[in-house]
Every structure is written in structure tokens, then in C-alpha cells.
């Protein structure tokens, strides 16, 4: 790590981010503005998550980075490599071994523990932005807990499709107070956020917001009494490990319409098959 401060960011910046994180933990689900820095990767690749990770990383932490559940995609490999080089921390692909997990669009299948922290990369932290284009008006709605109209979208979905058609980024109520974006995780993962033992941190770099869900906090997905929230999942089993309870990716395998379903969480799938690289 010659030539860099530990974990790339300078100490003043990390301190500023930690302050935002502390505030975010104190007010579950509430978006805290922070002075997001220019990072050596483009917006949309996880600049928010990487700054949060940099601010909380210690020398003996073990880092895991996933992208859509996979440890071996460009984004995951690059961010893991980045911290291995700038902080010299140990990295892993095993969920159970990691103390910090940075994720894009998934929550690992293995249950997280109280000694772990999960850091989400968030493109759009404002769950109201489609309903309320003005940020000032959206902030006012948050202040007044004025979220009733969010159900209009759900009403329209049920009317047109017979069910709620939000497959990802399904808005949640955190601690029955703040409406929060879970980041674009599949609706399948929403229930895992409820009373999760691990601390959940969310970083949105371009939008300059940090928010958090402290351990064991109530997280409820929006729904109707007579159309309860339904975490969607392909009605198949994993073609590699046979799991019938994990979130599946549909993979096209030839140009004649052949396709297979496989676990999106590669670590989960590999450990079930007994392949531990």
C-alpha cells in the first residue's frame, strides 16, 4: 500500500463518512447527505459502497465483494483487488468468513451474523423519486411520514398484472418510520432485511447519500392487506447444486432457446456442491 493512505481515502474524508454513518445508524432508514468523493471508478459502479467500505475497513477485516450474487464478475473482482492493494486486507469469497460484505443487488443466501456488516451499492436512494420529482417535496414527505400515495403504483400493478410487478427495489418501511429503498435487490431478498443480525449500510455515491438499517430493526415491504407482499422466485431448482430455495439466474446456454437456472449466489452454490476453491 505504498503511495496510498490506508484504504485509499484520506483520514479526514473517512471521518466525515463515519459521522454520516453514525447519524444514519441513529435514524434507521433516513438518508444522510455526505460529501461524496471522486473515486477511481465510474458512478454506477459502486462509488457509494466503496466509500462506505473504505471508511469502516480495519486492518484485520476480511472483505467479500459480490455483484449480483457472484464473486467473480468484473465489478466484484476489481473492488476486492482495490482494497487488497490499498488497505492490504484479507479478502474472501466465503460469506461466513467475511467481516464486511460489499454487495451490488443481492443479499447472500447464508444468514448474516451480528459480527458482520453488509454494505450496499445504491444507485437511487430516494424511494419517492418516481412519485415526487422534487427533492424538496420528497424530503417534506419523509419529514411528515406522508407515504400513502406510494400504494397507487402497487394498486396499478395489481389491476394490470394481477400482482405487484415490482421485481426489484421494492420499497420498504424501516422501523415503521422511514420509507427506504432497499437498493435494487430482488424482492426475494427483502424479507432477509427484516431483523437481520448484521448492520446494513447503504452508500449512494452519485446521489451523495448514506443510510443504514441497524441490527434487528423491523423492515416491512409495502403491500395491501388482501395482496400481501410476495417475494418472487423462478419456480425451478438450481441446475448445478439442486437448491430449490435460493434466488436463481436464468442463463441462456445456446442459440436454440436452451436455458438453465442456477444460483445467483456463487459462494452458496459452490459450498453446496462441496467445491471450495
Amino acid at each position: 500500500m505504498i503511495g496510498y493512505n490506508f484504504a485509499y481515502l484520506d483520514e479526514q474524508t473517512k471521518r466525515m463518512i463515519r459521522r454520516a454513518i453514525l447519524k444514519a445508524v441513529a435514524i434507521p432508514g433516513h438518508q444522510i447527505p455526505f460529501a461524496s468523493r471522486e473515486m477511481p471508478l465510474p458512478y454506477g459502479w459502486g462509488t457509494g459502497g466503496i466509500q462506505v467500505t473504505a471508511a469502516i475497513l480495519g486492518a484485520d477485516d476480511v472483505l467479500k465483494v459480490i455483484d449480483q450474487g457472484a464473486d467473480d464478475t468484473t465489478n466484484a473482482v476489481s473492488i476486492r483487488g482495490f482494497f487488497a492493494r490499498t488497505a492490504g486486507v484479507r479478502t474472501t469469497t466465503h460469506t461466513a468468513e467475511a467481516s464486511i460484505i460489499q454487495t451490488r443487488h443481492r443479499i447472500p443466501e447464508f444468514l448474516l451474523r451480528a459480527d458482520q456488516i453488509i454494505v450496499y451499492q445504491v444507485p437511487q436512494p430516494e424511494p419517492l423519486y418516481k412519485l415526487e420529482p422534487s427533492r424538496a417535496a420528497a424530503k417534506k414527505r419523509h419529514a411528515l411520514a406522508d407515504y400513502g400515495e406510494m400504494h397507487v403504483k402497487l394498486y396499478e400493478d395489481i389491476t394490470r398484472f394481477g400482482r405487484v410487478a415490482v421485481a426489484y427495489d421494492h420499497p420498504v418501511m424501516v422501523n415503521e418510520r422511514y420509507l427506504t429503498s432497499p437498493s435494487p435487490i430482488p424482492a426475494f431478498d427483502n424479507p432477509k432485511m427484516h431483523k437481520m443480525p448484521a448492520l446494513q449500510l447503504f452508500g449512494a455515491g452519485r446521489e451523495q447519500r448514506i443510510y443504514a438499517i441497524p441490527p434487528f430493526t423491523a423492515v416491512r415491504s409495502l403491500d395491501f392487506e388482501d395482496y400481501p407482499f410476495h417475494p418472487g422466485r423462478a419456480p425451478e431448482s438450481c441446475a448445478l447444486c439442486g437448491a430449490d430455495n435460493s434466488y436463481l439466474d436464468e442463463i441462456v446456454i445456446d442459440d436454440r432457446g436452451g436455458r438453465m437456472f442456477a444460483c445467483s449466489d456463487t459462494d452458496f452454490c459452490e459450498s453446496r456442491r462441496g467445491e471450495t476453491p
Binding site: 417534506k140 411528515l144 406522508d146 400513502g148 400515495e149 400504494h151 397507487v152 394498486y155 396499478e156 395489481i158 389491476t159 394490470r160 395491501f224 392487506e225 388482501d226 395482496y227
Partner: protein, 255 residues
């Protein structure tokens, strides 16, 4: 009948333009009050101020929500919002501005219910269908998008979407403006029937003396931000005292 809404000494300026100049007016329960006047006389500003959409520079609006007259300014922002979306209603002149055109008719009617906390899809839908029938739109059109509706249907949809929460006070800003005459007559008929049957109090802004005569119990005439004449509708229109009111009444074409 007790007083439901009362304005005392309202002042409002937009830059140097005086929109309201010491305006006081009161509305009783189940009463229909018309505000008439020419364009720029301040009648829409008065309506918006009464409805809590504009904060006056001076004076205050008082509302009796069951515990006596209280100033709107003491309600707080959340209290006012809850009032506006449940116990009050606002019908705009242009339904396209008030409705969401890319959301089904049922969704538009259900919006106020959901905003006030309704969380049962079946109940919301049932209420929406019942209100469509109430405003004489075929309930089978519940899943149609309002952008395919005619102007008159849109206005009726807006009325349904406003009344679905069972408000006790409705503000209307030229609800029949921009519609052709035969459609106007049907909308007026509908409003008159609903208002009487539901026992609503209404404040309606219009520049059409005919609308005021048909609907209103009482009438205030505005000119340059001031109320120049007020009284029972028939009294004012049959025996106008102020010269501006005389001009207004005289300019109606004989039927």
C-alpha cells in the same frame, strides 16, 4: 347552522398587485357559497387561501373540525395536509391538472383513499366502482386510462376522486369552465344533486352568474381584491346594490 369556515381580514399581495384586501367571509355547514367576479378580481386567490393552499400575508382562516373554530395556521403542515386530503376536497377547473392521466380511473379515485391510509385493495376497488356509478361513468371503465376520456367525463372523474373520502367541505374553481354548454348543464346537475344529498358545504368560484344562481345559497361579489357585495343569491342578483354587481347582472344574456 354553525359556522364551518371563516376568514377574517385576509390580505395578500403578489408583488405590488393587491389580490386580497381585508377580506372577511364565513361559510356555514351544508351551505353553498359562490365567489363571483371578473378575471383578476382575486376570487381564485381567495379560494386558494380558504383552502389553505396559499398562506395569507395578513388575517387568518378558521375552521371548525368539531372542536370549535381554530386557525389553519395552528394546524401545522401535517394537520393541514390530512384535512385537505380527507375532510376537504378541491375540484380544479382543468381535470387534467388534477388527475393522473397515466393511471387507471380506479387508481385515480383510490389515490385519496390510499393517501389517507386505506390498505385493502378489494375495498378500494369497490369504492372506486361505486363512485364511478355515482358520477354516471360506466363502472366497467374502472381499468381504463383517463387520457381516453372526454372532457366532461374527466371532470366527473375528478369529482368522484374528490368525494370518495366523504369530505364535508369542497372547494371548486370554475368546475364547468372549458366545457361545452350541454356538458356544463349535466355537470351542474350532478354537482347539485350530490351536494344536496351528501350535505356538503361548498365554496365555488365562478364568473358565470347562471352557475351561481343555480347552485349557491349565498354569494359574494369581488372586485380588485375586495368584497363589494355579499348576501343571499337571489337577493343579490335580483336587487344588486353595488354598481359593479349591477354591471355583472346586466351583462348576462337574456335566456
Amino acid at each position: 347552522m354553525s359556522i364551518l369556515l371563516e376568514a377574517r381580514g385576509l390580505d395578500k399581495k403578489f408583488g405590488r398587485v393587491v389580490a386580497l384586501d381585508n377580506v372577511s367571509v364565513s361559510l356555514r355547514r351544508r351551505e353553498i357559497l359562490a365567489i363571483v367576479g371578473e378575471s383578476g378580481s382575486g376570487k381564485t386567490t381567495l379560494l386558494n387561501t380558504l383552502a389553505g393552499r396559499i398562506r395569507p400575508d395578513g388575517g387568518d382562516v378558521f375552521y371548525d373540525g368539531g372542536a370549535g373554530l381554530r386557525p389553519l395556521s395552528a394546524l401545522g403542515e401535517l394537520g393541514l395536509r390530512q384535512l385537505q386530503r380527507a375532510r376537504w376536497g378541491f375540484v380544479q377547473q382543468d381535470p387534467r391538472a388534477a388527475l393522473r392521466l397515466d393511471i387507471t380511473a380506479g387508481g385515480n379515485i383510490g389515490e385519496r383513499l390510499m393517501a389517507s391510509g386505506a390498505r385493502h385493495y378489494g375495498d378500494i376497488r369497490e369504492a372506486a366502482a361505486a363512485w364511478l356509478a355515482e358520477v354516471e361513468i360506466d363502472p366497467s371503465r374502472i381499468d381504463d386510462l383517463p387520457k381516453h376520456f372526454s372532457g366532461g367525463m374527466l371532470q366527473r372523474l375528478q369529482i368522484a376522486a374528490t368525494l370518495v373520502t366523504g369530505p364535508e367541505l369542497v372547494f371548486m374553481d370554475e368546475p364547468t369552465g372549458g366545457l361545452d354548454v350541454s356538458v356544463q348543464a349535466r355537470i351542474l346537475d350532478l354537482i347539485r344533486g350530490l351536494v344536496r344529498r351528501l350535505g356538503l358545504a361548498v365554496v365555488i368560484v365562478t364568473h358565470d352568474i347562471g352557475v351561481a344562481r343555480l347552485l349557491a345559497d349565498r354569494l359574494v361579489v369581488m372586485q380588485s381584491g375586495r368584497i363589494v357585495e355579499a348576501g343571499l343569491t337571489d337577493q343579490v342578483l335580483d336587487d344588486p346594490h353595488h354598481e359593479y354587481t349591477q354591471l355583472l347582472v346586466a351583462s348576462v344574456l337574456p335566456a
